[in-house]
């Protein structure tokens, strides 16, 4: 159940947060992290662009449970991404009628995860375009709830902090503290 580290990338592809959660983990250089953030941002966009576009068929009935299932490429296309290349969903009734409401989970667009023998990188992009990149053990199950919790901490301790400026690097002591405490408590 190891969570190695977290990276947050803003809408423009800039690195705004990076923390390790394993003591003594070897750090990359700041420059490497910046390159990683920018590269991932670009690759993410490309994977979205190359998504095969199929005629839109009725999806499986939407359930309103709070658990998210990973989206298929089809729905990823249909959901349109914040900064994506798909056009916003047309406002015509005929199209709208083919969507179930609410669409469960968050639009998982572009690259969702990247895996090697040694680690897995899971990407969660919010509807506002912010990306959370979580580095975990490749065998770790249930990354999703961890991601959701991190997003909630972000909404609480970053967004509600008057001293945080949007899109800028995150330096919020309470965010670090709560995130660390929670991750420690999990293991």
């Amino acid at each position: 159940m190891t969570v190695f580290s977290l990276i947050i990338i803003n809408k423009a592809g800039g690195l705004i947060y990076q923390r390790e959660f394993q003591p003594g983990l070897r750090k990359l250089s700041t420059n490497d992290y910046l390159v990683l953030a920018g590269t991932f941002h670009g690759v993410h966009a490309i994977t979205r662009t190359i998504t095969p576009k199929l005629p839109y068929l009725a999806t499986t009935p939407a359930s309103n449970t709070s658990t998210t299932t990973s989206s298929t490429p089809t729905s990823a296309t249909a959901l349109a991404s914040p900064s994506g290349t798909t056009t916003p969903i047309p406002n015509t009734t005929s199209t709208a009628a083919t969507y179930m409401y609410p669409i469960p989970g968050v639009a998982a667009t572009g690259l969702d995860s990247l895996e090697t023998d040694k680690f897995r990188l899971t990407c969660f992009q919010t509807l506002t375009g912010t990306k959370f990149l979580l580095f975990t053990d490749p065998h770790m199950a249930n990354v999703e709830p961890v991601m959701r919790k991190i997003y909630e901490f972000y909404a609480d301790f970053v967004m509600k902090n008057p001293f945080y400026q949007l899109e800028m690097p995150v330096r919020c002591e309470a965010f670090d503290r709560n995130l660390n405490g929670w991750l420690r408590g999990r293991t």
Partner: protein, 264 residues
């Protein structure tokens, strides 16, 4: 040093907790609308220039205790408070100035909440905020005359009304030089829950807003005081805050007189 009470400089714009009750009372005698039962008589157009909805659903027609147990999201408070801090920051010269401004924004809340606390005690509603106090303030509806009952009012009922729990400690200064100083501790002030103060502003405590509320309560009771918020973190409570109340000379003088007169 006596500062003139700030009531006069208070808002012209009212969340009229404080005066709606008295207004509607004073208007009972003048209200001539016979279609309305007397207890529904409003401070309507007959006495003010304000228009009211045709259903006459004004603040005077709604019970003051209506919102007593009402809840709103903590997030809404946090966003409003954060925006208050951001707005204040744009208009100040430094940390002290920022704290002063936050204090000023809390002050009117203190005055209003004081009235609300008294009103709810006097109106004898069941398990009123004051009488449910566990400690020494079990002698409402009288307003506090001495410092100690005032402090208990703040530590207990006021804190419970605002934050749903009493404050964590109440202390008197041990220094003989500062008998006028009292401290109320909150281990984890609700207003600071989501706030991380940048290192370069480490002296700042946004609970200056709460200090302003306390100051409003003190002033409203006739206890001129200066109240400030200070960071006193412990390992367990990184946000621990001490509210330092410094009562004015006049209050200390009066305290002695009342002491001799045996007033509690």
């Amino acid at each position: 040093m006596a500062q003139p009470p700030r009531h006069a400089a208070m808002l012209s714009l009212s969340n009229s907790n404080s005066n709606s009750n008295s207004n509607s009372n004073s208007n009972l005698s003048t209200a001539s609308d016979s279609r309305q039962p007397a207890h529904l008589a409003t401070a309507s157009h007959s006495s003010t220039g304000l228009r009211v909805p045709s259903n006459r659903k004004t603040i005077y027609d709604r019970h003051l205790n209506r919102s007593r147990n009402a809840e709103l999201s903590r997030a809404s408070f946090a966003f409003l408070f954060a925006e208050m801090v951001t707005y204040a920051q744009r208009r100040v010269t430094g940390i002290q100035d920022l704290e002063r401004r936050l204090n000023e924004q809390g002050y009117p809340l203190g005055l209003r909440l004081l009235d609300l606390l008294f009103y709810r005690t006097i109106s004898g509603s069941t398990s009123s905020a004051l009488s449910s106090s566990s400690s020494t303030s079990a002698s409402p509806p009288n307003r506090p005359l001495r410092i100690l009952p005032l402090l208990h009012l703040i530590h207990g009922p006021l804190w419970r009304l605002l934050f749903n729990r009493p404050a964590d400690a109440l202390e008197h200064s041990v220094s003989p030089d500062t008998p006028n100083e009292y401290m109320i501790t909150d281990n984890d002030p609700l207003v600071n829950t989501y706030i991380s103060v940048p290192k370069e502003m480490s002296m700042l405590n946004c609970a200056a807003f709460v200090a302003g509320i306390i100051e409003g309560v003190c002033d409203g009771c006739g206890f001129e005081a200066k109240v400030t918020a200070h960071n006193q973190p412990t390992e367990m409570w990184p946000g621990r805050t001490i509210f330092l109340l410094r009562f004015g000379e006049s209050v200390m003088e009066r305290e002695k007189v009342l002491e001799r007169a045996g007033v509690k």
